[in-house]
């Protein structure tokens, strides 16, 4: 196992696109890979072990070195600020972080509140604007917050904007564009530099080809 690479994959939305990218890069992943309920999948022929993690946890596994590499959205790496190398923009799962709220509303002067799954990103953003706001951390259904008056604004990930529209919310500001990144543990980056460099080279080629 010493020369195996362990890759932390985000469960859910990004998973399929990431798996497809790896296949295009020539890694032979078994067909059952995609419907697997297992948390650890070994692909013996490629010397790869995949661990399936919550997207927000991917940088944690990588920082601690239990995964050599990981695939994580820029939103997650910004929020988590882990000590990992961000090596490659995989150009998948395009979306962006935005400030949204009920249409035609202003921030409350007395007690401005922002609900979000990304408290660090949201706090940093409003601080940069010179605004002091109360950050309310939620774990999901963020759109609910302004609808029932928990907060004036939300900071959330937007991909098509449909969820916002369906809930009668509008986008106010765009914070940053988000794509998925290949992240690497600093020790693995040095000790397993050969297989990692190869993986990076193969993925870069696919990314460049796709984006031509």
């Amino acid at each position: 196992m010493t020369n195996w690479l362990t890759i932390a994959m985000p469960k859910g939305r990004i998973f399929e696109e990431a798996a497809e990218l790896l296949r295009k890069a020539g890694y032979k992943l078994p067909p059952e890979f995609d419907e697997n309920r297992k948390l650890i999948i070994d692909v013996e022929s490629e010397g790869l072990r995949f661990i399936l993690a919550k997207p927000m946890d991917v940088p944690t596994y990588v920082e601690h070195g239990v995964a050599d590499l990981g695939i994580a959205g820029k939103d997650v790496t910004l929020e988590e600020e882990r000590d990992v190398y961000e090596l490659l923009d995989l150009q998948i799962s395009h979306c962006y972080l935005a400030v949204a709220g009920m249409p035609g509303t202003n921030m409350n002067d007395v007690a401005p509140k922002v609900a979000t799954k990304y408290p660090n990103v949201a706090a940093a953003y409003f601080r940069e604007q010179g605004e002091q706001v109360e950050i309310i951390k939620l774990n999901g259904s963020i759109e609910l917050a302004p609808m029932i008056g928990l907060s004036d604004r939300i900071v959330d990930i937007v991909s098509t904007g449909r969820t916002l529209v369906e809930n009668g919310l509008v986008e106010y500001e765009r914070i940053i564009d988000v794509t998925s990144r290949l992240i690497v543990n600093p020790v693995s980056y040095r000790i397993k530099d050969e297989p990692i460099s190869e993986l990076v080279a193969r993925l870069s080629k696919v990314v460049a080809w796709e984006g031509r």
Binding site: T2, E63, H64, G65, V66, D83, V84, Y85, E86, L87, L88, D89, R181, N185, P186, V187, S188, R190, I191, D193
Partner: protein, 391 residues
């Protein structure tokens, strides 16, 4: 804040229980012995230092410092590293003659942890500083001694990646022209954000050759062959000199016969702003964080001496993690005695101590459950009741 439990310790502080203590002591003494063999002498410095002097010189982030006030209102810090205190001692006391100075230390340092409070905020470092010797030989000595002491401690698989801070500085400055523009890219390097670095390089108004040089820089990692590649990328004299220093360092470490563990990595940068030349990190495969680091620094200037120094520090806790399972403590025997044969028991214990056997003396009246108690020992001798008659 919620009320503290009586058994609680401040965040990041740990107790060292007997088994771990033994292991620590074992590893520590192995390394210490090698370091002494190389002629380094150990010193101790105070746990508390002034914030304005050693605290400011240490280059550990301000929010990681434990601060307190003394009675005059000066801010004090729990020493966050040993390099700054040793630079202080060397500059003020030890460096009287203009000789090279070889100092070693074994000390706990303190760094408050922001994230996940369980991470150690106090940890032991073992390290050396070779002061007032500018030669590459002394950089090589530091690396060779580190390799040698780690091997002695029982570490088999590890790697040292060596870079040179002046190379990065010169390359960025030469291509970008101003310190300000170089700093933008340097920040990406510190943050390990290569995606951001590449995007920024591509957005700059530079010739395609210069852009390529900045991008190729990220690939300057590997064995001796990287030296050639690095020479292709940097053009000015000081940059080239940095490379030649690394080349020489390679030869020095080679002459020590310790080159197997060594790789070059020009991309290594450190948040420790005092480094001026060669710098390196040590990795062991099964630990996700570097177990040690070091390099050449000009810290003594802050204390009024124009001498440079080079050194390494290894984190004992991470080294222990890398070593994994180790042989535990030496076995302990037990003598259970009663009042009548107390003297005999003491005598027996004394002879065993002389043979370096660890033995516990236990009065039988002090133990409630004798069977369970003696189970903890390798061997138990009972000296109870009247001494048996000598037939």
């Amino acid at each position: 804040m919620s009320r503290l439990f009586m058994f609680e310790k401040p965040l990041g502080m740990r107790d060292t229980l007997p088994e771990l203590y033994e292991k620590k002591h074992f590893v520590r003494s192995l390394m210490e012995e090698v370091i002494k063999q190389w002629g380094y002498t150990f010193i101790e410095t105070p746990t508390l230092e002034y914030y304005e002097t050693v605290g400011a010189a240490s280059a550990i982030l301000d929010q990681q410092l434990f601060k307190l006030l003394d009675r005059e209102g000066h801010t004090l810090v729990l020493r966050p590293d040993m390099t700054a205190p040793i630079a202080r001692v060397a500059a003020s006391k030890l460096l009287k003659d203009d000789f090279p100075l070889r100092i070693a230390y074994l000390a706990n340092v303190f760094r408050a942890q922001q994230r996940e409070g369980g991470r150690p905020a106090e940890f032991e470092q073992i390290g050396i500083e070779c002061i007032n010797d500018d030669t590459i030989s002394s950089d090589g000595e530091v690396i060779a001694l580190m390799v040698s002491s780690l091997k002695q401690a029982g570490l088999e698989h590890f790697q040292i990646s060596i870079g040179h801070i002046a190379f990065v500085q010169e390359l960025l400055l030469q291509i970008l022209g101003t310190e300000e523009r170089a700093n933008v890219l340097r920040k990406f390097l510190y943050e390990k954000n290569y995606v951001g670095y590449k995007e920024h390089v591509n957005s700059l108004a530079l010739s395609s050759i210069d852009k390529q040089r900045l991008l190729d820089f990220l690939d300057l990692r590997g064995g001796e062959e990287v030296i050639e590649k690095a020479l292709d990328i940097v053009e000015n004299e000081r940059g080239k000199e940095a490379i030649l220093q690394l080349k020489e360092l390679w030869d020095v470490v080679n002459d020590y016969g310790e080159q197997d563990q060594i790789k070059f990595d020009f991309t290594i940068v450190s948040h420790m702003s005092y480094y001026t030349g060669v710098l390196f990190e040590v990795y062991a495969g099964n630990v996700g964080f570097p177990i040690g680091n070091g390099g050449r620094y000009g810290l003594l200037e802050k204390f009024g001496k124009t001498a440079s120094a080079t050194g390494f520090a290894v984190r004992v806790d991470r080294l222990l993690e890398a070593l994994g399972e180790m042989k535990g403590a030496a076995p302990v025997q037990c003598i259970i005695f009663s009042q009548e044969r107390r003297k005999e028991a003491f005598k027996l214990a004394k002879t065993m101590h002389e043979k370096e056997i660890r033995v516990v003396l236990q009065d039988i009246n002090g133990v409630k459950n004798l069977d369970a108690y003696t189970h903890k020992f390798k061997n138990t001798t009972y000296l109870l009741g009247k001494e048996p008659a000598n037939d």
